[in-house]
């Protein structure tokens, strides 16, 4: 539509039209944002509903199991047991299922996720707030490092394609992607930790050294980095290969694009061409993949954190499953999904910001 406006127009006095153009572009941009946000909301709604179904309605659901358990253990009446479970899950035992559903929905929106079953009185959301930041820190820095490194190495491979360097990096990349991330974790423990003795893996349990005082002081920060180091390395190593290979093929196709050739003919400096012309365009497809990767890596955190005994959300989820702490489990799952959706939202919006074409066509 924009391109069909008459292009042979008088040169001056077009401020009015310019404004309109700005407006429409801006509007469409808002639309892209709008659409992405709507999708995120729908996803969250669906998952919250799904979780409700899983916990309340599915045969053999946790609520029935718990009631059964209390009945057997304490020999109280069914109603009493039911009320007690309802209190933990924070729903009104006398309401209809539909009302409970709306109630649950409202609770989630208010981030009220009930109280822990195994340690009564502890609010699940408080526990999550304790664990989540560590996971975000480790996964976030791991992804960020591997994304940036992958872009740089992938471009290097494309610029030196078919050289020995490219072949070696390709082989490494295949290894890095092929081997599952928890296998990398175990390898890191066995090789770096035990055989080479570079890290005292046993002492790196948790997220920081309890002898330090949390806050902005050097010993604390150092211990935080120390504890997160191995998980971060694992996230980096297991995702780096994918970015490298993707960036390589993407760069190779961009290098064939006209505008790179023209930029060279325009006498632009190499540094400018590599960054703003090749790098920027070649990395665009990677942002789409980032959305898949975020969910995957956050999800794999459950095993990785367990392997390194890193006390993040994954560790908390696993702990609540082994102790059958259903309310915690449900809360962590919902928060995990919301985190993924939110991270995807940010990636999507960043993409829209980086690629002007998306703002108009609304598609990737």
């Amino acid at each position: 539509m924009v391109s069909q406006t008459p292009d042979v127009v008088a040169a001056t006095g077009q401020a009015n039209m310019l404004d309109r153009l700005y407006d429409s572009v801006l509007n469409i941009y808002r639309n892209h944002t709008f659409r992405v946000i709507i999708q995120a909301i729908i996803t969250v709604w669906a998952v919250v509903t799904f979780t409700f179904f899983l916990v309340r309605l599915m045969p053999g659901n946790p609520i029935d199991v718990l009631i059964e358990q209390i009945l057997v253990q304490e020999g109280i009446s069914y109603q009493e047991a039911y009320d007690r479970v309802a209190a933990s899950f924070d729903f009104d035992p006398d309401a209809t299922a539909l009302d409970q559903y709306f109630d649950w929905f409202g609770d989630v929106l208010r981030l009220d996720l009930g109280t822990s079953i195994t340690s009564p009185g502890t609010r699940v959301v408080d526990e999550i707030a304790r664990y989540l930041p560590w996971t975000l820190f480790a996964v976030g820095s791991g992804l960020l490092i591997s994304f940036v490194l992958g872009i740089v190495l992938g471009m290097t491979m494309a610029y030196y394609r078919n050289s020995p360097l490219d072949h070696i990096l390709s082989l490494f990349a295949s290894f890095m992607t092929g081997v599952p991330n928890y296998i990398w974790g175990l390898l890191i423990i066995i090789i770096l930790g035990i055989q080479l003795n570079w890290f005292n893996v046993g002492a790196l349990r948790g997220t920081y050294d309890v002898n330090t005082t949390p806050g902005f002081n050097l010993p604390f920060i150092v211990s935080v980095l120390e504890h997160a180091l191995l998980p971060i390395i694992t996230y980096v190593v297991s995702t780096l290969g994918g970015w490298m290979l993707n960036m390589k093929s993407s760069t190779m196709s961009v290098l064939n694009d006209d505008y790179v050739n023209v930029a060279e003919a325009r006498g632009l400096k190499d540094s400018r061409i590599i960054t703003a012309y090749v790098g920027r365009n070649a990395s665009l497809p990677l942002f789409t993949q980032l959305t898949i990767s975020i969910g995957f890596v956050l999800g794999s955190g459950v095993v990785i954190e367990e392997i390194f005994v890193y006390w993040g959300l994954g560790h908390y989820l696993f702990a609540s499953i082994t102790t059958r702490d259903y309310t915690s489990m449900q809360g962590v799952f919902v928060i995990l999904v919301i985190t993924v959706v939110f991270a995807n939202l940010i990636a999507d919006l960043t993409y829209g910001f980086l690629d002007p074409r998306v703002r108009v066509s609304g598609q990737k």
Binding site: Q39, I42, T43, A46, V47, L54, M58, G60, N61, P62, S170, L171, S174, F175, T177, G178, V179, P180, Y182, I183, L186, L187, I189, I190, G193, I194, Q195, V201, G202, S249, I292, G295, F296, L298, G299, S300, V302, V303, E306, I307, G314, L317, F318, S320, I321, T322, R324, Y326, M329, F333, L336, V337, V340, V341, N344
Partner: protein
């Protein structure tokens, strides 16, 4: 005859094409080796199920050796040399098992294993040997170091050093990959531990791929409401991190059946591939031959099966391989966490025990975790290399879904 010929020649062609891509060829050979090791070798190698108390976390290559009195070093070297002599073994170790075939020709003196690790069983045997009460003793190579070299009692140490020598350090067959926390041979576990894992992963991968294929083609061929619904469903499932979902499901419905787990993984694993297949079918639909078929009024089923599917075979095959790697990833991930069945002794279960029994942190026992780690890692790498090579061999334009 000619059928066999043509089959052979097409296989040969395929091998020639894949061998152009070095990495892919390595992957291909690797997969063949894996097939032999995990599917054929189990018929020839028995699963070592015998706990052996003195062989716990034996290092790679450790085995039963023959200890004799220093004066007999040149006399007794094999079991044949010991005909009619007295040979000591320790109960609940590899000794009694090893000596079974020779029980008619030698006298066996059994020393009782004591529940203590440095129990008097071995010690008593060695003392007896040093005093020439018995002629030889079967002892595990790792135990020799532990009981003779590391002996803390100076008197005993002196006694052992003066009187005992190893006359045959390679008497028993070696444990190629060492022994686990129960003294069982890890190599036999590796041989037996792959089949179920691989079959389950293939099951999961096939289910995912089938669903993706059906949904993707339906979506692309019929469009409209069906397409919208399927696409929305796909996006939704894609937004849920799959592994935590499996973990939560494992917490709600305990997975006690490996095959069921495979099916479940398959049922959750199709969305990314469905998108890719939908795009493929959409683009194939635009091609001339499909349009021609449509204009001839051929049915959609016919077009799908006869025109479109044959053109997607390689694409689907490649993505099937990737699906298998994902199914394997998830399955083993759950096992490592202990949330999936550990009754069958697979590589994943070996990892689980390696982790929970702490051999990970024991330099001698590293192989209990390291062996399955490498078995899984190399298998996945072979699959990925092979799939990438197929991608290049078949059609470089077709890119995988992930």
């Amino acid at each position: 005859m000619s059928v066999i010929n043509s089959i052979f020649s097409s296989i040969w062609n395929f091998i020639k094409r894949i061998s152009k891509n070095k990495a892919g060829f390595v992957g291909f050979i690797g997969l063949i080796i894996y097939f032999i090791v995990t599917f054929i070798m189990p018929s020839f190698v028995d699963f070592d199920d015998e706990p052996k108390l003195d062989e716990i976390t034996g290092p790679i290559g450790s085995r039963i050796v023959l200890a004799v009195h220093v004066d007999d070093v040149d006399t007794y070297k094999t079991m044949e040399d010991l005909e009619g002599k007295t040979v000591g073994v320790v109960s609940q170790t590899g000794g009694p098992i090893f000596i079974e075939p020779y029980e008619d020709t030698v006298n066996v003196e059994t020393f009782r294993w004591n529940s203590r690790r440095d129990g008097p069983g071995i010690q008593a045997g060695l003392i007896a040997l040093a005093n020439r009460e018995i002629d030889a003793m079967l002892i595990f190579s790792k135990s020799v170091t532990e009981y003779i070299d590391n002996q803390e009692d100076p008197e005993l140490r002196q006694l052992f050093e003066d009187n005992i020598a190893i006359s045959n350090p390679t008497l028993g067959p070696p444990h190629l990959l060492g022994t686990d926390t129960q003294g069982r041979d890890i190599a036999t576990h590796i041989v037996h531990g792959g089949r179920l894992l691989i079959l389950t992963a293939v099951l999961g991968g096939v289910i995912s791929t089938m669903i993706a294929l059906v949904f993707g083609s339906l979506s692309a061929l019929f469009g409209g409401v069906l397409d919208n619904v399927l696409t929305a469903l796909t996006n939704l499932i894609l937004a849920i991190p799959r592994f935590p979902l499996l973990v939560v499901l494992a917490g709600l419905i305990s997975f006690d059946n490996t095959l069921f787990l495979g099916v479940l993984i398959g049922l959750l694993g199709w969305p990314a591939l469905m998108r890719a297949i939908r795009a493929q079918v959409l683009s194939l639909r635009e091609r001339d031959f499909v349009e021609a078929a449509q204009s001839l009024g051929l049915s959609t089923t016919h077009i799908m099966l006869r025109e479109i599917l044959p053109n997607m075979i390689s694409f689907v095959a490649i993505n099937l391989i990737f699906s298998i790697t994902f199914a394997m990833y998830e399955q083993i991930g759950l096992v490592v966490l202990g949330l999936a069945p550990i009754s069958d002794y697979t590589w994943g279960v070996m990892l689980y025990f390696g982790r929970t029994r702490g051999t990970l942190f024991n330099a001698d026992g590293a192989s209990m975790a390291l062996a399955p780690v490498l078995a899984i890692a190399l298998f996945q790498v072979c699959l990925v290399l092979f799939a990438r090579a197929l991608e290049e061999v078949f059609d470089p334009r077709l890119r995988s879904a992930v």
